[in-house]
């Protein structure tokens, strides 16, 4: 009886041990690495699409599980606090205007080692967009999408003034504005008191952020501010609107310079207003700005390989195709098509400069830019003073 009991107990123990061992073995073969990916909310549609993209990644990559975190508060401040606590997400959005500063603060992981190891093809990204996330030859992120500026025109006001085509040059812009003014549009152009619009004109005149105090830059600023001072243009607040998109929809102005984000706004807010989208006006040369955001990796991530697997997939052909599937954004890759109606935007990819320009002091300098441009428009500061202030701020002085 005792012998039989001992045998039964022995067999049970053996079975338990075998089950435990097999479970352990199974666990080893299916080890899943958790990674977090974070970004800000850009509305319900975009959040849902991003979750769908992450779900596809999780399905196709059983060894890595990505969890999406949407940061609804002030993204830059929230991320700064997480960096300071050495606890940021593994992969996250980086706006190009802050990329240089975060690179300098050493919170972004250089990706060159992973690119080399996995033979990742970076040539499919538009070089100027990728350049916004590079310092020298070091890559700190890949652009996930982007938007340049374009010239948008109110068809009704143009027809009333007998103008058939959108202006293509600065000279046409001025002459069209004068014609529109003669036909009752008090301020035909809506211009934002913002370097995020004016810098496009600086590039069109042969200036740049690197030679911001040059004659070409000063001429472009004078042209831009001159349009406002002459009354051919007005700011959205002068027109009684929240932003220039609203001014276009309300018919308070006939010409504006906005990005891809205007299209869903017009569709939802002014579905009956007919408007045209044309490439950005041209000065001496073509010039535009690219507002872009990257996926980058944290220097603190403990699961760097898994984070790279996620990042490279999101930025790869498959990930980008999914991301572009609803036409919410423009593709940063030449081998992934953007859904229709965005040709005037896409045309400017070769000459669009990534907003932020890789300058580590750009985030701080933008505060100076925003304040000084209003002072120049108001006449409290000269153009030369503003350009000197901005040049100093860009140098971190």
């Amino acid at each position: 009886m005792t012998k039989r009991l001992a045998m039964v107990l022995g067999l049970v123990a053996l079975a338990v041990a075998l089950v435990a061992a097999s479970a352990q073995a199974g666990h080893k073969t299916h080890k899943v690495t958790e990674v977090t990916v974070a970004g800000w909310s850009s509305g319900g549609d975009e959040d849902n699409l991003l979750q769908q993209v992450i779900n596809v990644f999780n399905k196709t990559h059983p060894s890595v599980h990505a969890t999406l975190q949407i940061i609804n508060t002030n993204y830059g401040d929230a991320m700064t606090a997480r960096f300071a606590a050495h606890n940021p997400p593994d992969v996250f959005y980086v706006d190009s205007y802050v990329a240089g500063a975060w690179e300098k603060q050493k919170v972004l992981q250089p990706l060159n080692g992973y690119i080399k190891k996995s033979h990742y093809n970076t040539k499919k990204f538009y070089p100027k967009l990728l350049g916004a996330f590079m310092h020298g030859k070091t890559i700190y992120g890949f652009p996930k999408d982007w938007s340049p500026l374009a010239t948008e025109t109110n068809n009704g006001l143009f027809a009333k003034a007998g103008i058939r085509k959108a202006p293509k040059t600065w000279a046409q812009l001025k002459s069209d504005a004068k014609t529109l003014q003669q036909h009752g549009v008090a301020h035909p152009i809506c211009l934002s008191p913002d370097w995020a619009r004016m810098l496009a004109f600086i590039y069109q005149n042969g200036g740049s952020i690197k030679n911001v105090q040059s004659k070409a830059s000063a001429q472009a600023v004078n042209f831009y501010v001159g349009l406002l001072k002459s009354g051919l243009a007005a700011t959205s607040s002068q027109l009684g609107d929240g932003w220039c998109g609203q001014a276009l929809g309300d018919g308070h102005s006939a010409i504006i310079f906005e990005g891809n984000w205007l299209l869903p706004y017009m569709k939802s807010t002014y579905p009956n207003v007919k408007y045209g989208v044309s490439p950005m006006v041209k000065g001496k040369v073509r010039g535009n700005l690219a507002f872009t955001v990257s996926y980058s990796m944290s220097t603190f991530t403990k699961n760097k390989q898994a984070a790279w697997t996620l990042l490279s997939w999101l930025e790869g052909k498959k990930g980008e195709r999914l991301w572009m599937s609803k036409g919410l954004a423009l593709s940063p890759r030449s081998d992934v098509k953007t859904i229709g109606g965005r040709a005037p935007f896409l045309a400017s990819a070769p000459y669009s400069h990534g907003w932020g320009f890789g300058n580590p002091n750009f985030n701080a300098a933008y505060t100076v830019m925003s304040n000084d441009i209003t002072a120049v428009i108001k006449g409290d500061k000269t153009v030369q003073q503003m350009l000197a202030d901005v040049a100093a701020a860009l140098k971190g002085q």
């Binding site: 300071a84 603060q105 050493k106 607040s237 002068q238 929240g242 701080a364 304040n371 209003t374 002072a375």
Partner: protein, 308 residues
């Protein structure tokens, strides 16, 4: 017997004394125990960060801590020579000088109104206090809509000025907004003070045939001196800490044309836009010294009169 009683009384007295000492010790222990918790919280969240801020103000300090470049008073020098910091000080001085008297005047007026035996007194008290407990972010956002170029305010007056987007009007718009939102709290302090004034003095004034206006200026206003001092210090310091309304109105730029750049905004900007926490800490220490000095001056002037 006597001896017995004498020898018996001594241990009894000793026992009583030791019981008293024990009770006092226990009482002190409980007292210190209860005080320890808030002191620990105060130390952890106020004293320690302050000392730490003073420490980092002597270094180049980025997001991840100390950076190369030595140590010294260079951050203080940078702040003291920065024209934007000077502008911020000028802006906050103008703001405080206007907003505090306005808040006090409005709060006192409301308190005087509520202190009357009027119908619906409780409703008015709650209604006047409501803006004080509402989120300043929500109130500022609503104000931005109301005072926008095409907002309700302009539709009423027939104008088209964007009150919060114009460098000439933005600060005064914030003054108006904050005077309104803070007046409810001021009202409560004044109401409490008004209710401590004995009726006898008013009865004596009435017997003498003193009018309402004279009664207010000669009796009520002087007897509210402790409340004046308290409100001046508390709301004065509150005004000097202006940040959220300025941040929201300027969309985080401190503009237009630095019109909403306050010292606290300057500190925020240095820390979260420039990532120069050393400069931000130095600006914080300098501003602390300024506020401390102003409070001491206030104490020595208005406070001394109040004590007298």
């Amino acid at each position: 017997m006597m001896a017995t009683s004498a020898t018996g009384a001594a241990p009894a007295r000793l026992g009583f004394r030791s019981t008293m000492v024990g009770a006092r010790l226990r009482e002190a222990g409980w007292g210190y125990g209860f005080a320890l918790v808030p002191i620990a919280v105060f130390g952890l969240f106020f004293i320690y960060p302050f000392i730490y801020a003073v420490y980092i103000s002597f270094f180049h300090w980025g997001i991840l801590g100390k950076q190369a470049g030595g140590h010294g008073t260079f951050n203080y020098s940078k702040v003291l020579h920065d024209p934007i910091f000077h502008t911020a000080l000028k802006t906050i001085a103008e703001y405080t000088v206007v907003v505090v008297p306005l808040e006090l005047a409005l709060g006192l007026s409301l308190a005087l109104l509520i202190n009357q035996q009027i119908r619906g007194r409780n409703f008015f008290r709650s209604a006047f206090y409501f803006p004080s407990i509402a989120s300043s972010v929500a109130i500022t956002t609503i104000a931005l809509y109301i005072f926008a170029a095409n907002g309700l305010f302009n539709q009423i007056i027939g104008g088209n000025k964007a009150w919060f987007a114009d460098a000439d009007t933005v600060l005064w718009s914030i003054v108006g907004l904050n005077a309104w939102t803070t007046s409810g709290t001021v009202m409560l302090f004044y109401l409490a003070a008004l209710q401590t004034i004995p009726n006898d003095v008013y009865e004596a004034a009435a017997v003498d045939g003193t009018g309402a206006w004279r009664t207010f200026w000669r009796i009520t206003f002087p007897l509210l001196k402790p409340a004046h001092f308290f409100c001046l210090v508390v709301f004065g310091i509150g005004a000097l800490k202006l940040f959220d309304q300025a941040f929201i109105a300027s969309n985080g730029t401190g503009g237009p044309n630095y019109a909403t750049t306050t010292p606290i905004f300057y500190i925020y900007n240095e820390a979260f836009h420039n990532y120069d926490f050393g400069v931000a800490a130095a600006a914080g220490v300098i501003y602390f010294v300024i506020i401390f000095f102003l409070t001491v001056v206030q104490r020595l002037t208005v406070g001394r009169q109040e004590a007298a």
